[in-house]
Symmetry: C2
Subunit: 121 residues, 2 copies
Amino acid sequence: MGMDRDRPIERFLPLRPVEFDVLLSLAAGERHGYGIIQDAEARGVTAVPDVGTLYRALRRMQDQGLIGASARREAPEAGEERRHYYRITALGLQVARAEARRLAALMRAAAASGLIEGVAT
Amino acid sequence: MGMDRDRPIERFLPLRPVEFDVLLSLAAGERHGYGIIQDAEARGVTAVPDVGTLYRALRRMQDQGLIGASARREAPEAGEERRHYYRITALGLQVARAEARRLAALMRAAAASGLIEGVAT
DNA sequence: GCCAGTATATGCGTGACGCCAATATGCCGG
DNA sequence: CCGGCATATTGGCGTCACGCATATACTGGC
């Protein structure tokens, strides 16, 4: 699987934008693909991932062990039969945290360069 | 140049990791390619862009009008003859700010999901 | 019946990526 | 003084991810 026994976390950084979107949504709870897109739409106006990009990213990230299929898939309620639910894995959580740290460092540098003005916490 | 008369800023979002690295370095002042790499190395340990990726991104971003060739190129001091200096453009600054806002929103969502612990401002 | 929304998947062409090698200069140690 | 390391940029090569479009299918409203 190309698992790279050592350096398991940094191997994935920097995450592609769509990948961080996915991990961010799944960190808040189980979601299906379309729900992740709706999350992105609700979060900010700009930069909603393309559907093709999203679904392919989901499969890729599943292969990499960053996310996994949810058990909810096995007991679908009414109206969600078509949905594929995903959950974040322990590895995915570690990677997401590492990426968040990277972005935080970037934001600090951005603030130091005067790139950020009215961005409240 | 494929300028896209309307929606000039959002067109570029989300920036690729290497592109934000570049704009971030140049927002702090003029730099040459290798200097940008050194900036990234100094900033955080992880995720330093590959040289090929960096130099290709520089040319691409110049074509897009995000960065421009510096005037310093015309009057090279001793030891910097080989260097190509770049500066951020007004457009590049706008794009960098928009991306910083996007990332800030992402960080807020990350914090809400408990992804961030010890990340001080 | 049709259009819009929900939900996932795939084909296609372009282009960005990571890795590596080439080129060239300056500097320092042995 | 010569080999190696840091500096500095460029190009080739193969792979892969992207954006766009289309296909499929179900639901609900008008």
